[in-house]
């Protein structure tokens, strides 16, 4: 019933694509106590490619994202980066390998302001001699650049993010992931709280990231628009494993939804 | 604020005598001996650094004399130094204060208290037919100057018996902060440890002996089954135990006497006459100097001389006998 998009088919897809995936997870298992959240899930991400990760609620998408990001260590399975086995068991491992993540729960520090959250963990600092003084001014300027690129220049940068609206918070989390130059960006339901126009901007942003040669993974429930129109490849998850794999340009929303709920079991529409 | 000010600095409020007896006695005595001197009382609540602040604040208010009962004799040197720097004479009251300049020391000799406790215990134990006599020692707060002196005094009499095998010390422990509850748990566990076979509990003050008595009561013993000795302070509660036969004795320190002598010394200094030479009957070495001392007599109160307490005006029979009116002694004296 599980059908993998074998690599050649994916490679045929979008333009800027190398033969070795940037990151590749195979046969990942992960349990929480008695809950078997991932039972052999796999995913590849190539440079320049936008992979959509879709599936019903509780299918294991966020868990897979967290394994990719090093938040959870997998119980078993392989994790390769640019073709070489890699150990990614903490978020800083992932960061080191150039993986940036937007989490479904955003993972912001509510008591810090937007600039502090944007740069958290990778502040621009002065000399070690002065204890790593934060170059607040530079941070602020860079933050403004990114925010205006996302057309968010009217968002206050010095209020604690805990006091912001759901969409504002989500925008900050997204801005955060693209602030530095990662190789892979993973976004878990990035547009859930965004208005139509903001979501469109994020879709454009994601495309421009891929065009710059980054690998992008997006979890989304917006199958009919965002997933079929703005991604390159679609991985469908069901019950903690891959259920199907499609090239986005070949499918309709209905086909994807059917694969998600199991209506088309075993049918591999990829390639 | 025109009156000359004298400060009486108390150590803590767990040893209640300072707050409830010494202070009022001293204030009363001063009113008599130096009516235009204002006495200010402050309590360090057991904290030496708080006491240091109180010394500094006293100096700031222009203290003429500081009557000091140190919160911890070992951490009082800074207080003495501050006073010396400001030229304020310090008279030590009861507790020692190690490592600094003091004008005089009015004290019931702590060593003498320990000796009284040890002597009485040794007498009673020698009189016992059993050998070895099993003894539990419930000592005071570890590291305190007083505790060390009481222990040394007791040991002068107990050591020989221990060495000769007459006494077997089966349990021995310091009591954190002199807390009677801790003393009680310790006594209970000691009884358990020895299957009830403990003959004597030697305390260091009425709090520690009281803990032992409460332990005996809670374990179902009767008065006289075990010997509880080594009380100190002649608290009313301890005297009741003595009257009932739960406890053998308590060392009486007549606080009124002490307060009066202290008032004499202080009044004399305030009047510019210095420490009255005639009162000095010894010296206490506090590692910095030999402090001229006014040693006061102590006496051990047992069932036989319970009336001394009443005679000295410390307690009345009515106070002592409250709740135990049916005991022989009380029937006789009420």
């Amino acid at each position: 019933m599980t059908a993998q998009a074998d690599e050649p088919s994916a490679r045929d897809g979008p333009a800027t694509n190398s033969s070795v995936p940037l990151i590749s997870l195979r046969n990942i298992q992960k349990s929480f106590g008695s809950v078997h959240a991932l039972r052999g899930a796999s995913v590849d991400v190539h440079a320049g490619e936008i992979v959509a990760l879709v599936g019903d609620n509780g299918a294991g998408k966020s868990t897979l994202v967290k394994v990719m990001a090093g938040v959870h260590a997998a119980d078993s399975g392989e994790y390769e980066i640019e073709g070489r086995p890699a150990i990614v068991r903490t978020p800083s491992d992932a960061t080191k390998h150039g993986i940036a993540t937007v989490y479904q729960d955003l993972a912001l520090c509510n008591n810090l302001d937007a600039v502090q959250n944007l740069f958290l963990g990778r502040e621009l600092t002065g000399s070690r001699l002065f204890g790593g003084r934060i170059r607040r001014a530079e941070c602020e300027v860079r933050a403004r650049e990114v925010m205006s690129r996302m057309r968010l220049s009217n968002l206050s940068l010095s209020r604690p993010v805990g006091a912001m609206s759901g969409g504002q918070r989500q925008n900050i989390a997204i801005a955060r992931s693209v602030l530095w130059k990662p190789k892979v960006v993973i976004l878990d339901e990035p547009t859930a709280a965004l208005s139509h126009s903001a979501a469109q901007q994020v879709a454009d942003l994601i495309r421009s990231l891929a065009d710059d040669g980054l690998g992008v993974v997006v979890v989304s429930h917006d199958i009919h628009h965002f997933v079929v129109n703005s991604t390159d490849r679609i991985e469908v998850m069901r019950l903690g494993a891959n259920a199907a794999s499609f090239r986005s340009k070949d499918v309709t929303g209905e086909m994807v939804v059917n694969a998600m709920v199991g209506g088309n079991e075993g049918v591999n529409l990829a390639g | 604020a025109d009156k000359a000010k004298v400060f009486f600095l108390l150590p803590n409020e767990t040893t209640i005598r300072f707050e409830s007896r010494d202070a009022p006695f001293f204030v009363a005595a001063m009113k008599e001996k130096a009516p235009d001197v204002e006495v200010v009382v402050a309590n360090a609540q057991g904290d030496p650094s708080k006491q240091q602040s109180q010394v500094e604040d006293a100096i700031a208010q222009g203290a003429k004399v500081i009557l000091l009962t140190s919160a911890d004799a070992n951490l009082a040197a800074g207080e003495l130094a501050a006073a010396a720097k400001a030229n304020v004479p310090v008279v030590l009251y009861d507790h020692d204060a190690v490592g600094g300049k003091a004008a005089a020391h009015v004290v019931f000799d702590s060593l003498a208290v320990g000796q009284e406790q040890g002597k009485r215990a040794a007498e009673l134990i020698k009189a016992m037919s059993k050998t070895p006599v099993k003894v539990a020692r419930v000592k005071g707060n570890q590291g305190e100057y007083g505790t060390k002196q009481y222990e040394a005094g007791q040991d002068q009499f107990l050591k020989p018996l221990i060495d000769s095998g007459k006494i077997q010390v089966v349990c021995e422990q310091y009591t954190q902060n002199w807390d009677p509850t801790i003393a009680q748990s310790f006594a209970e566990d000691c009884l358990t440890k020895n299957g009830g076979d403990v003959d004597v509990f030697i305390g260091m003050n009425d709090g520690t002996t009281g803990g032992s008595v409460a332990a005996l009561i809670s374990q179902g013993f009767k008065p006289g089954d075990k010997l509880v000795t080594g009380g100190q302070d002649a608290t009313v509660e301890a005297l009741r135990y003595v009257a009932q036969g739960w406890q053998d004795n308590s060392v009486l320190k007549d606080l009124k006497v002490q307060a009066n002598y202290a008032a004499d010394v202080v009044a004399s200094i305030v009047a510019g006459k210095g420490v009255p030479k005639d009162l000095i009957n010894g010296k206490v070495n506090n590692t910095f100097m030999d402090v001229p001392a006014v040693f006061l007599p102590v006496s051990n109160i047992t069932k036989d001389n319970l009336g001394d307490v009443v005679k000295a005006g410390v307690w009345t029979w009515a106070e002592i006998c409250k709740g135990i009116e049916t005991t022989d002694i009380c029937k006789k004296n009420l």
């Binding site: - | 767990t14 209640i16 954190q176 748990s185 209970e188 409460a214 009561i217 608290t235 409250k322």
Partner: protein, 399 residues
């Protein structure tokens, strides 16, 4: 399936899962057992009925204090005044009894009410101004310490011998009566369990008889029976221990079965969510503080009955001293979180037993005071570490 279907009773549950629900107490118990083994090796009297009775009795006051405090900790607050409440209420009731000749039957309940009232005063201040409860109860505690000193007579002590209060500590329930008490306890538990099983059956939910009826009943009956046998081998069940047991039972009922108990957990985890759910958060908070105060007063009565009097020391002295620290420590060692919303009733019992065991055991070993402090510290950490290591190995997660 990823999520377990609610209707299918899971046949085999992982050990971790069991720990998460029915056996929540196990890790701390293991920590305790390790301590016991240590002391059994060190002292041959440790396991005697007499000593175990002692140990239980010595743990009651701190245990009861911790039990009351739990209610406050659950709602993410702290009450530093419980020791002072314990002291001042004990002094008030002793004063009433000794000086004014009030009957203990009136004075003691009154002191419990007073304790609850004082507790609710802190809560009101916390609710109203929003001052952290740490500061409010610290200040209130000091003020109560002062009041306690004011209330004491010049003798600094009210003796309670002969007033009837001492009977609380001295009464023991032994022989057949002890078994009667045991039977009543088990009967209540059975009633409780059966009533929920009946109800589940009636609405058509399946119940595993072994798992939800037999197991808890047998385990409780066994533990109770062992306790009764041990205590009967000495003098019987001391009344303070029985009072503690009853309070534990009541507390467990309130926390696990009632709406109020649930609200404590909800507020501790997410007070804003609780408020949005229409829960009167200030009212629940006030009740929690009142319970802590009332229960502290009960502990104060037992303590004064045990020490046969009240004085400056009642309530641990100024600042709460050892009593306060041990009460908080007992709750935390038993698994109550200082950050709210987490902890079960057994925490009070187990935490107090851990502390009591260490002290009792070291008394029996007769080690020097310095060593004693060092060992106490290390054993406390050890006991809780075992608990955490087990939790970690079984992959438990806390919310």
């Amino acid at each position: 399936m990823v999520s377990i279907p609610a209707s299918a009773a899971p046949k085999r549950r992982t050990f971790g899962e069991l720990l998460g629900s029915d056996l929540r107490a196990l890790p701390v118990v293991i920590g305790l057992v390790v301590l016991w083994i240590f002391f059994v090796v060190q002292s041959d009297v440790f396991l005697t009925p007499r000593n175990l009775s002692n140990l239980l009795l010595q743990s009651t006051v701190v245990g009861i204090m911790a039990l009351g405090l739990m209610f406050v900790l659950l709602v993410r607050e702290i009450d530093l005044s419980i020791a002072a409440i314990h002291g001042v209420t004990a002094v008030v009731s002793a004063k009433l009894i000794v000086e004014y000749g009030v009957s203990p039957l009136l004075a003691l309940p009154l002191s419990v009410i007073l304790g609850a009232a004082v507790g609710s005063v802190s809560a009101r201040w916390v609710n109203w101004i929003g001052v952290p409860s740490f500061v409010v109860t610290l200040g209130l505690g000091l003020a109560l310490n002062g009041i306690q000193l004011l209330l004491l007579p010049a003798t600094a002590r009210f003796g309670l011998m002969g007033t009837g209060v001492e009977l609380i500590a001295q009464t023991t329930i032994d022989g057949i009566y002890a078994w009667l008490a045991w039977a009543i306890g088990i009967a209540f538990l059975a009633l409780l369990i059966l009533s929920s099983v009946r109800r589940r059956r009636r609405v058509g939910l399946e119940v595993s008889v072994i798992h939800s009826v037999v197991l808890p009943l047998v385990v409780s009956a066994l533990i109770g029976a062992v306790a009764v046998v041990v205590l009967n081998a000495n003098q019987g069940i001391p009344l303070p221990v029985l009072i503690f047991a009853v309070l534990l039972g009541l507390g467990g009922y309130v926390l696990n079965e009632t709406q109020f108990g649930l609200y404590l957990y909800a507020i501790g985890n997410n007070a804003e969510a609780a408020r949005r759910a229409g829960i009167k958060v200030p009212r629940i908070r006030t009740a929690a503080f009142a319970i802590a105060g009332g229960v502290a007063a009960i502990a104060g009565i037992i303590a004064s009955s045990r020490t046969l009097g009240v004085g400056v020391f009642s309530g641990g002295g100024v600042g709460g001293g050892t009593l306060l620290l041990e009460s908080i420590a007992a709750a935390v060692i038993g698994g109550v979180s200082l950050f709210g919303g987490r902890g079960a009733i057994h925490a009070a019992l187990l935490g107090a037993l851990v502390i009591g065991t260490v002290q009792n055991g070291l008394n029996l070993m007769g080690v020097k005071n310095e060593v004693r402090l060092i060992v106490t510290g290390l054993l406390l950490v050890l006991a809780v570490s075992i608990d955490k290591i087990i939790e970690k190995l079984t992959g438990q997660q806390a919310y």
